[in-house]
């Protein structure tokens, strides 16, 4: 008898293998949980990998305080369902200085996300952190290892990566060093959606089209999710049927106009779309396309 494994079966098995390897060899792992669809898949895979035990590590949400309200609601419930501890980290300095996406541009991402993440990892002394990044997202990620080694200051050196052969991962660290681990490295956006459909994984409803209040800023449709959104004189949010392909801080995340209100419709639209998933994100466009590579060297996930 031969049992045919399809591509999702293989991706799933690889991701589970990666997670178990970390738990077996690292002393204090954590899973970064951003509440997005990739995090949802990663968490689901963790539950499978360690079943019937709950995943033997906590979830960490590096909170910028500017996520969509629906994300916060889902976050709190999901962690409870999985039987895992949820750690929430907010950069105190960023809060005190009132850093926000409207007044501070790239500094907002740096302070709340990059610095916040480093603070949290240092505070808890995690030696391994799972992240949901995929290699198909961005050119710098295409060359990053599954086990991505970071210096004591969390920097990534693209020219000094450990060779990664077969499914053998070198997890050995000197004191103070850490590893970022990307179990979804070989998944594509389409794989993620198909897996969500096949496994019935719960995701934030923002991924599905619904009438939402938006304004247009620099060609980007931005949702007015709470009263902190500073409207320009005469600017009026209008209800349009939109959905989101990625989720981040709501003022920095562009919506797309869409009628796709079910997963099936979203996948169809995705297959026929003509723009990439990260296009709605302001973060990659800094610095002549090398934005992500630079951010990673500075410690961004």
């Amino acid at each position: 008898m031969s049992l045919r494994l399809n591509h999702l079966d293989r991706l799933e098995a690889e991701s589970m293998h990666i997670m178990r390897e970390v738990v077996a060899e690292c002393s204090n792992p954590v899973m970064l949980y951003s509440v997005g669809k990739d995090s949802a898949v990663m968490l689901h895979l963790a539950r499978k990998a360690f079943y019937p035990a709950p995943p033997p590590f906590p979830l960490l949400h590096v909170d910028t305080t500017w996520k969509f309200r629906e994300m916060y609601a889902l976050r709190d419930r999901i962690a409870k369902d999985a039987g895992m501890d949820l750690l929430i980290w907010q950069n105190e300095e960023a809060r005190q200085r009132g850093i926000n996406p409207f007044d501070h541009g790239p500094m907002h991402t740096d302070m709340w996300k990059t610095q916040g993440l480093k603070q949290a990892l240092d505070h808890y002394g995690f030696d391994a952190a799972f992240g949901g990044a995929r290699r198909d997202e961005e050119k710098a990620r295409a060359k990053e290892r599954v086990f991505s080694f970071r210096t004591t200051r969390h920097g990534w050196d693209p020219k000094n990566q450990r060779p990664e052969l077969w499914n053998l991962y070198n997890t050995r660290l000197a004191k103070g060093e850490s590893i970022r681990v990307f179990p979804l490295s070989n998944w594509t956006e389409l794989d993620i959606w198909q897996y969500i459909m096949a496994e019935g994984i719960e995701i934030v409803p923002l991924y599905l089209a619904a009438p939402r209040p938006v304004v247009e800023r620099d060609g980007m449709l931005v949702m007015v999710d709470d009263e902190r959104f500073p409207l320009a004189p005469g600017e009026e949010p209008e209800m349009r049927s939109v959905r989101f392909r990625t989720l981040g801080c709501y003022p920095l995340t562009g919506a797309v106009e869409s009628e796709a209100a079910t997963l099936r419709d979203v996948v169809q639209e995705m297959l026929l779309t003509t723009t990439s998933e990260r296009q709605g994100r302001a973060i990659d466009r800094d610095d002549d396309g090398a934005g992500m590579e630079k951010k990673k060297q500075e410690g961004y996930f």
Binding site: S2, H7, H17, Y51, A53, L165, W166, R172, Q194, T274
Partner: protein
């Protein structure tokens, strides 16, 4: 989708049937996509072979490139491109800014695309000889290799190198993609000559079969469909069609005997004990009789536990959690295998090795060896030979340098459960990790176990080391003195031994005099010999501590790695490193044996501190500052520590 700014027909997207189906009948599309298989392949070729252009083309044709990326590509093409006003597909895949500046692809990059029948993961690796390690990395997980040849240049040295490496890493599906056919007028004669050339070479290195396809990555000929109108003489499949059909041996692997390296023991509560791992070969079902290797205990599979319901069967490639019928000892590193045909265990191997580090192999030095879920200490002996990857000649070698490939014996400090690499990549492939820097320095493929290891079984002794130590009323341990020549190691060690002896302890002092003149008479002072010297001393101290003795050693032992190797040989807490810290100027001033003078005048080579390094201990148990401590004071402190710590308080 035709890009809005496409100006020339040369970049028209071929597209696959997928697009239409997704638009018309999404449910049918999803159903078919759900049944897709997965193929991982590697592309090999040098900068000029058009490799990045080919990959860019594959991504473009399969709609993996979107308008915003295309717009970025157009602006990049104008700025960095090499194709004039045409789109330079290579820029899509040459990701990191460092390599865009240099115009080369430094590291392995993974790309993804899919067609109706398969999802593809492409390992895009650089072609230069100095990046052999990157190619090896990409090849290690590949089912197929696409070897690019520039039709204008034919089979080159690099073609041979790429083919050899792909074959060595166990890739049995080789595609010879003769690229840039557009630049030779799609001439069949040229294609035929290249195929003939390659066949002769392939045969020599054991490539039984390969598929040759004439293509143009730039123009798209014979990529998505074949034959291209330009090559009516070609009757084979297009590159994509071939990659969609190629057999990756999944069913063969499933039919083999069952093997699963245990990754992690899942024990959430007293009622459940499961063994998590990824199946390396075969098929498993509840009720199957299995053997735990190396312990040899047998039991049955009770359940295959899974989220959403137990499985009735699982096959090679799946990550599962097995529950066994009996409460047998089994932990990470063990292999659960079919009871009737378990894998071999041995501690010495003949292996093919690829060196991945700037720092050359130190034969005899202990490295971490990781194979499957087992991590042990192993050393590589002096190579039998290295391979000139360009001519395939076997060369005499004393070590392996970065990117070198060769064959050597590997000795492990305990038995390893394995399969020859040719039979199973998971149980036959290993990496070597430097114990101090933690870098992955080498990769190896087991060819076979050495017979002498298989037949020498550990004798289980009735009188064990604890019994012997108890009879002597002491805790065995090693006082390892290290420091420069003339630092005072032997002097202090002698005094310590006297004090321990006076306290009724059973001791033995090993130093250059009683070791170098006998056991290690054959060794000189090269780095390799120094390592072997210390390894042997380590083995002797281990035997002596097994006998219950307190062993004192006085050797320069300049390298941290060897001192750590000895530490690792002994039970935790039995290795006490004592750094006799005398500055070089002071040791040279004392120069009791006149050795420094000789070394300075060039009469003595490889002298520690002069033309050979001394690596200071970082975590020594004791440091003796000889500038401020007399030998007697030092000896008293050391003896007090040993007697105080280890003598039971009566």
């Amino acid at each position: 989708m035709v890009p809005p700014h496409a100006s020339s027909d040369t970049i028209a997207r071929s597209g696959y049937a997928t697009d239409a189906l997704a638009a018309e009948d999404i449910d049918a599309y999803l159903a078919s996509h759900r049944e897709k298989g997965l193929l991982r392949f590697i592309t090999c070729g040098s900068v000029d072979d058009g490799k990045s252009t080919l990959i860019g083309r594959l991504l473009y044709d399969s709609r993996m490139i979107f308008e915003d990326q295309l717009a970025a590509l157009e602006s990049d093409s104008r700025r960095h491109g090499t194709q004039g006003t045409d789109l330079d597909f290579a820029l899509l895949v040459d990701g990191l800014s460092a390599e865009r500046e240099q115009g080369i692809t430094i590291d392995v990059a993974y790309r993804f695309f899919s067609t109706e029948k398969r999802k593809f993961i492409v390992a895009d690796t650089p072609g230069h000889e100095q990046y052999t390690r990157n190619m090896v990395t990409g090849a290690s997980t590949a089912d197929a290799a696409v070897i690019l040849v520039d039709a204008r240049k034919g089979v080159l040295t690099q073609t041979r190198r790429h083919s050899y490496v792909a074959h060595l890493l166990g890739i049995r599906n080789i595609v010879l993609a003769v690229n840039k056919m557009d630049l030779v007028g799609y001439d069949q004669a040229i294609f035929d000559v290249i195929c003939r050339d390659y066949a002769g070479f392939a045969d020599r290195i054991g490539i039984a079969a390969f598929t040759a396809i004439p293509i143009s990555g730039f123009r798209g000929d014979n990529i998505a469909s074949a034959p291209s109108p330009q090559t009516p003489w070609y009757s084979g499949p297009s590159l994509i069609t071939h990659l969609e059909q190629v057999d990756i041996g999944t069913s063969i692997l499933q039919d083999k005997s069952f093997r699963m390296p245990v990754q992690w023991v899942n024990r959430p509560d007293l009622d459940f004990r499961g063994f998590a791992g990824r199946i390396a070969a075969g098929t498993v079902r509840p009720g199957d009789e299995v053997r735990i290797v190396p312990s040899g205990r047998t039991t049955r599979i009770a359940r295959i536990a899974a989220f959403g319901g137990d499985l009735q069967a699982a096959v090679a490639g799946q990550s599962v959690t097995l529950v066994l019928a009996d409460d047998v000892d089994c932990s990470r590193g063990d292999v659960i295998a079919s009871a009737g045909d378990p894998p071999e265990s041995a501690d010495q191997f003949d292996a093919s090795i690829v060196w991945l580090s700037d720092e050359a192999l130190m034969p005899g030095r202990g490295y971490w060896l990781k194979l499957g879920t087992q991590t042990i200490t192993a050393s590589v002996q002096q190579p039998k030979y290295s391979i000139n990857v360009n001519t395939l000649d076997r060369l005499a070698a004393t070590t392996f340098e970065l990117n070198e490939i060769g064959v050597a014996e590997v000795q492990c400090d305990r038995v390893l459960t394995f399969a020859p690499y040719e039979e199973n990549r998971t149980l036959g492939g290993f990496i070597l990790i430097d114990k101090l820097t933690n870098a992955t320095v080498g990769a190896g493929m087991i060819n076979f176990a050495l017979r002498r290891a298989q037949n020498v079984h550990w004798q289980a002794l009735d009188i064990d080391r604890e019994t012997r130590a108890l009879a002597k009323g002491q805790k065995p341990q090693v006082l390892w003195f290290t420091g420069l020549s003339g630092s005072g190691k032997s002097t202090i060690a002698n005094l310590v031994e006297k004090k321990l002896h006076a306290a009724g302890k059973h001791t033995f002092l090993l130093d250059g005099d009683n070791i170098r003149h006998g056991l290690n008479r054959d060794l000189g002072f090269t780095d390799a010999d120094r390592i072997e010297n210390i390894r042997r001393v380590g083995e002797v101290t281990r035997l002596m501590t097994d006998a219950g003795l307190i062993v004192l050693t006085a050797f320069i032992s300049p390298f941290r790695a060897e001192r750590e190797l000895v530490r690792a040989m002994l039970p935790e807490g039995e290795f006490c490193e004592i750094f006799v810290d005398t500055p070089l100027e002071e040791a040279e001033r004392r120069d009791a044996k006149g050795l420094y003078a000789k070394a300075r005048s060039g009469k003595l080579k490889n002298f520690t501190g002069i033309d050979s390094p001394y690596e200071r201990p970082e975590n020594a148990e004791m440091v003796i500052d000889t500038m401020n401590t007399t030998p007697d004071e030092a000896a008293a402190a050391i003896a007090a520590r040993i007697l105080g710590v280890w003598v039971p308080q009566l």
